[in-house]
Amino acid sequence: MSSTVQPRGTTKIALTAHSWLVYLFFFAPIFVLIVFSFSDDNNVGRWGGFTLEWYQDFVEHNQLQNAVWVSVRVALLSTVISVVLGTLAALALERFKFRGRKVFDALLYLPIIIPDVTMAVMMLLFFSEFFDLLDAWFGLDLQKGLGSITISHIAFNISFVSVVVRARLAGMSEVLEEAALDLYATRWKTFRYVTFPQIVPGVAGGALLALTLSLDDVVITQFAAGPGATTLPVFVFGLIRRGVTPLINATSVLMLAASVILVALSLAFQQFSGRGGRPSLRAAREAVSAPPKTNTQIKEGINQ
């Protein structure tokens, strides 16, 4: 890149300073939160010496622990189901023309663009009507809880997973799949040994996104949750409304740590799969470790 394009002189100094300020804005609040979660003072703005007391409180707090487990169960369950459904949907949309494709495409985008509040209202009214109906027809007395939260999380996660997987499929040539089929691989084998190894990074990325979204959601969950079970963010949201306490600081820092681990994982996946050239092919070759005969031929096709 030519040096004239680079900002110079005062412009450069101003831009650099501005960037540092933006990073300060991004990270200062998080930093303060982390530091004060270790402060031995009931007043959250004053440093009272180092302590792990608040983290101990978190571990011993029964309701918080329950909420953590509800969150984890909902996140895992909704991620697994939405990864399967979302990947199938992505394959259908990227690889096939079928009747109702356009309607499906639009329906799949809606959960992404719809405001949280609107979707929350939808879930509230739906479960209220749905449970009334079940009660009237089958005499089932159901309540909102783990099930309704999971159902609502899957409803938005399918879309996010399918967008990520579709992006991966769109950037991938169909030539390899066609070659596999020409070489008499069955459709299942083609998917298993050619398509799937190539979309693994997309599927993993989608899964991590789904996990993050599920663990973060407050608004929709609040309306889909019942007296039976609430997730950690919803419970913490309730606590925050009553005031700021060191216990919330500690809980927040732990939630932060969970997010950062998920980001690190997804970046690692991108690194693994996105290093220039056509690394997906290398990944595909590595993934096909003990291939049957037809797939050896596919492998040779890839190698060329």
Partner: protein
């Protein structure tokens, strides 16, 4: 699409692509595609489209004396209520705050995104990772962090007192809400802006400077028009969630700063006027749909 791939049963031996063969292949592909999409399709119809229909039904319904909702006898009363001063004020306030948030994000993010785009690849990636981290971390926690900072015994107040600026109370004001919204959605502005600036052939900037354009003229006539897709995409990505924000105003705002999101939730949880809440959430969704159409039209999808 995948003609070769879609070899229908019974036609495996066909060596010439006759019209019948092609038609059968198309039908088979159509069936396969439909079957693959079926689980997600059915799920979204049952748990998304049907709930959406129910909300629409409720928005045309009437609230009865007991706080319940009569679904018979559809009318537009709930939508008429949106013209009332209280609701109108809330609508305008939400709109104003969303626009303000978008503008602040734009002004802050543009030079930042430009700076990132002109770095070497290594530094560029590093800088982007540090934008992604707040982008991915828990939204609730990020808002809570500001509550801790701005609170009456928080660091911000302590510093402003120490500097002799007096006890400045920012929490529960409109400013606090805007700070929270900018903080929450700034990455949504930075990333599309970066993507569109990075794509610009920067020798054009050089050419403009060579032809004696001032820095501002270069920005105004070269850089800005070329990065317009990013500006529009980023603005929509910030504006849309700001308008429907619920968590941020609840945590950082006060009674005087009720916004659309909180008002809708109140209609369901405490005021028990479901038709009004449903009609408002429908209006909110309509705004988002329009914004999304603009986003796709202007090529935001390609960023």
């Amino acid at each position: 699409m995948t003609m070769v791939a879609d070899r229908p049963e019974g036609l495996e031996e066909a060596s010439v692509a006759t019209p019948e063969f092609e038609k059968a292949a198309e039908r088979a592909a159509s069936r396969r595609g439909f079957l693959l999409s079926l689980p997600a399709y059915a799920y979204l119809v049952l748990f998304f489209a049907v709930p959406l229909g129910i909300v629409m039904m409720y928005s045309f319904a009437t609230r009865n004396r007991f706080g319940g909702t009569d679904l018979s006898g559809w009318n537009l009363n709930a939508y008429r209520k949106l013209g009332e001063p209280i609701v109108r004020d809330i609508l305008f306030r939400s709109l104003w705050l969303a626009i303000l948030t978008t503008l602040i994000c734009l002004v802050v993010a543009y030079p930042f995104a430009y700076f990132i785009a002109t770095r070497t690849p290594l530094i560029r990636n590093l800088m982007l990772v540090f934008v992604m981290i707040p982008f991915w971390t828990n939204f609730l926690v990020r808002n809570y962090a500001w509550r801790v900072l701005l609170g009456n015994d928080g660091l911000f107040t302590n510093i402003s007192e120490a500097l002799g600026l007096g006890e400045r109370e920012l929490l529960f004001t409109t400013s606090a809400v805007v700070i929270g919204l900018v903080y929450g959605f700034l990455p949504f502005m930075v990333l599309p802006l970066y993507a569109s600036i990075e794509r610009i052939d920067l020798s054009l900037v050089e050419a403009s400077r060579d032809l004696y354009a001032s820095g501002f003229q270069t920005f105004r006539r070269v850089l800005l028009p070329l990065s317009m897709p990013g500006v529009i995409a980023g603005s929509i990505l910030v504006f849309v969630p700001s308008l429907g924000a619920y968590v941020t105003p609840e945590i950082l705002g006060g009674a005087k700063t009720t916004l659309l999101g909180s008002y809708i939730v109140t209609q369901f949880l405490t005021a028990r006027n479901w038709p009004v809440g449903a009609s408002l959430s429908f209006v909110l969704m309509a705004v988002m749909l329009v914004a999304t159409l603009v986003y796709f039209r202007t090529g935001g999808r390609n960023l």
